[in-house]
């Protein structure tokens, strides 16, 4: 444990609260503090549009970062995140089905179901004699993600009128968030808390699976539970905000450099940083562009970071 970790977490909590307050104040329709007391319209924009939107962005950022942290430790691979093992592809397909066939109703339930089904399909494909080697898990993830994206393309091809809606949703964003979406996103905190209970197990699993067994960790069951919780959290995030990439990859990585590898500190730090990152990404896109999907921004900054990570690991 690094002695500075609790201080960093406190700092991040303050930073998140300030970021959320600023994000609420920012927006294309400039609202002054005074107008809140004089204009019902200003109050409406603030309370019905900006506040839920900022809270949802924070929750989704937190969820993606926590799921990414869990998967990186689970697979002992800092390149892993919910997108790589097919979890979010499953979620995206589920949500698209809802848009095409039910005009968007049940999007959350289907996205969540899709994420779970995809994760456990990969899990069972990768399973060999009661164990899940990491290599086969990642490869099955890539294979399934390819299949799912083909199905997704087919749906879009046949979608007709709702194509635009699917496209926009897939790129990921918070333009349509209302309070009921925030309610949908709240269970992210429950899933995240569940994952946090396994922080010590993950510290040990990060060494080596055989070694973890020697230290009393039931490796396969821990993997199953953590995969399920990660799929749960990712499924909700995808249902609420579409596919937003790279938050789950970058945040844990940067936070590991800052607070160290102990998951008891890494989880809260990554959760807070993920929330801050997405709150700002959303605030910037909606203020300075005509509400461009935020997934475009995270990908623009995330992909080069991923390449940098890959290169520096290849050198090491």
């Amino acid at each position: 444990m690094r002695r500075t970790a609790p201080i960093i977490i406190l700092t991040l909590i303050c930073a998140l609260l300030i970021s959320m307050a600023l994000a609420v104040a920012l927006g294309p329709s400039g609202i002054s503090f005074g107008s809140l007391f004089t204009s019902d319209n200003a109050w409406m924009i603030l309370w019905e549009i900006r506040v839920p939107r900022v809270i949802a962005a924070a929750l989704v950022g937190c969820g993606l970062a926590v799921a990414g942290t869990a998967m990186q430790a689970l697979f002992r691979n800092p390149m892993a995140d919910p997108y790589i093992i097919g979890t979010s592809s499953g979620g995206a397909l589920g949500a698209t089905l809802a848009i095409v066939f039910f005009a968007g109703t049940g999007r959350t339930v289907l996205a969540f179901a899709g994420a779970m089904i995809a994760t456990f399909t990969v899990y069972f494909i990768a399973r060999r004699g009661g164990k899940i080697p990491v290599e086969t898990l990642l490869l099955s993830g890539v294979a399934l993600a390819t299949l799912l994206s083909a199905l997704l393309s087919f749906l879009m091809y046949t979608a007709g009128r709702s194509l635009h809606q699917i496209m926009f949703w897939l790129m990921g964003g918070f333009w349509n968030i209302a309070w009921n979406d925030v309610v949908v996103a709240i269970p992210i905190l429950i899933g995240g808390a569940g994952i946090y209970l396994f922080a010590r197990d993950l510290n040990i699993l990060a060494l080596n699976e055989e070694d973890a067994t020697h230290l009393g960790v039931n490796v396969e069951r821990t993997k199953q539970i953590l995969l399920a919780l990660s799929a749960f959290v990712t499924g909700i995030a995808v249902a609420v905000a579409g596919s937003i990439g790279f938050i789950g990859l970058i945040t844990p990585h940067v936070m590991r450099l800052i607070v160290g590898p102990d998951h008891r500190f890494l989880f809260p730090a990554a959760a807070l940083a993920g929330a801050i990152l997405l709150v700002w990404a959303d605030a910037l896109t909606r203020t300075f562009t005509s509400d461009m999907p935020v997934g475009i921004l995270t990908a623009c900054f995330g992909a080069p970071f991923f390449i940098y990570l890959l290169r520096s690991r290849m050198k090491a």
Partner: protein, 418 residues
């Protein structure tokens, strides 16, 4: 009640049998070593004992309790494993890693108590890593990292400690340092360890289990298990087995066999003593010469070498001069020899007769062999030997220095004869 008892277990990976009908136990507080060639199943046996590898059948009992009836955490409280150097991907501190040993004691909703910290400190102290506590596991050396893993295992407060060649990647001083730590722990803890190095196993273990082709070949005290015959049978190699001069434990040395070459069908007799002939006895034997030697005292190092190599040797009991019977034996050897080799040794009244006899064989080639330029034939006979030496050299006896020159000389003699 045995701390660990293995009853007739089989283990296979897929269709491949790795272990067959293994039965043994460890006694409380002992160090039990598992030895055997690569692929004999040593590591797999250890993995079966830590339940990382499933067995096909048979039973493993810990304190009379079925291994399979124990939960993961319960098992980790009883059995700790020190693996071969593992790579630690994330940047943990030494204290973080040792604290992981407390995992089976800390509940999911709890965090470590003062007692856990105390146990960690004590474990680090025992494994001599307390001074490294705050350092990253990436900053310390391989030997230190191995001691950290021992401290982590001790933090588990186990009854049984399993070591999988825990020192194989280290240099000898670190191996001894770590094994000394382990030996100090035995007594309170029962240790089962896979060893690569037979000599370390022989020194540190109370008992050994020798595996061959998936099965137990021998078990017992190191002296009973590490016999020349067992080693030949299991490792397919000739080894000298001697008591270690300081510890009395068995000590094995490979007999580095050369391909039979120059010496085929040639006979040589070596007059030596005081260890001056051991190197060439081995060399000539390995090169295929038929070697005899003597007369030697049975306490002489060269006599021991001759016995290890199974060479005929004319010998006298301790502190005895050369008797007429021995001289007759020596003459019989000299009669059959193609070449006589005399090594550079001190000559006194006790062994002068060995050289006097040579005067009776004027036609046999005689070679005076010195291992290097420091080897001298010190004369303790008051000049008698000097005269004898001059006489032999006048008849054509040669001096050679170094084993290579000796072999070259002998092959030349061989071709002269042919």
């Amino acid at each position: 009640m045995k701390p660990i008892e293995i009853i007739d277990i089989d283990v296979s990976y897929g269709a491949k049998k790795i272990l067959e009908a293994i039965t043994f136990h460890a006694d409380a507080g002992e160090i039990l070593g598992i030895v055997g060639p690569n692929g004999s199943g040593k590591t797999t046996l250890l993995k079966a004992m830590s339940r990382v590898v499933a067995r096909d059948n048979g039973e493993i009992r810990l304190d009379d309790q079925d291994l399979d009836s124990l939960g993961y955490r319960e098992l980790a409280r009883r059995v700790a494993v020190v693996p071969q150097d593992i790579s630690i991907g994330f940047d943990y501190t030494v204290r973080d890693v040792v604290m992981m040993g407390r995992h089976p004691y800390i509940g999911r909703f709890a965090s470590e108590t003062a007692r856990d910290l105390e146990i960690c400190d004590h474990a680090m102290h025992l494994a001599n890593v307390a001074h490294l506590a705050g350092m990253s596991v990436h900053e310390i050396s391989g030997g230190e990292r191995q001691r950290v893993l021992i401290a982590r295992a001790l933090a588990q407060e186990p009854k049984i400690l399993l070591l999988d060649e825990a020192t194989s990647n280290l240099d000898v001083s670190h191996q001894v340092e770590i094994l000394n730590i382990i030996r100090d722990l035995a007594g309170e803890i029962t240790v089962v360890s896979v060893f690569h190095d037979l000599n370390l196993a022989a020194y540190y273990c109370d008992r050994l289990l020798l595996l061959k082709d998936r099965k137990v070949y021998a078990a017992g005290a190191p002296g009973e298990v590490l016999t020349r015959e067992n080693i030949r049978e299991v490792f397919g190699m000739e080894m000298l087995v001697k008591p270690h001069p300081l510890t009395g434990r068995p000590y094995v040395l490979p007999v580095y066999m050369h391909q039979p070459g120059a010496g085929a069908n040639r006979r040589v007799h070596v007059v030596c003593g005081g260890g001056t002939g051991s190197d060439i006895l081995h060399l000539l034997h390995g090169a295929g010469f038929t070697v005899t030697c003597g007369v030697l005292n049975v306490l002489d190092t060269d006599y021991g070498t001759a016995m290890h190599l199974g060479l005929p040797c004319v010998a006298e009991p301790p502190f005895h001069g050369i008797t007429p019977e021995s001289l007759a034996g020596l003459r019989a050897c000299l009669d059959g020899a193609d070449t006589i080799i005399v090594t550079a040794m001190p000559i006194g009244r006790g062994n002068l007769d060995n050289l006097r006899v040579l005067l009776d064989y004027p036609t046999k080639p005689v070679v005076f062999y010195a291992r290097d330029c420091t080897s001298r034939m010190e004369d303790y006979t008051g000049g008698e030997f000097g005269a004898m030496l001059a006489n032999l050299e006048a008849r054509g006896a040669l001096r050679v220095e170094g084993a290579e020159e000796l072999l070259a000389r002998l092959s030349q003699d061989g071709s002269d004869r042919d």
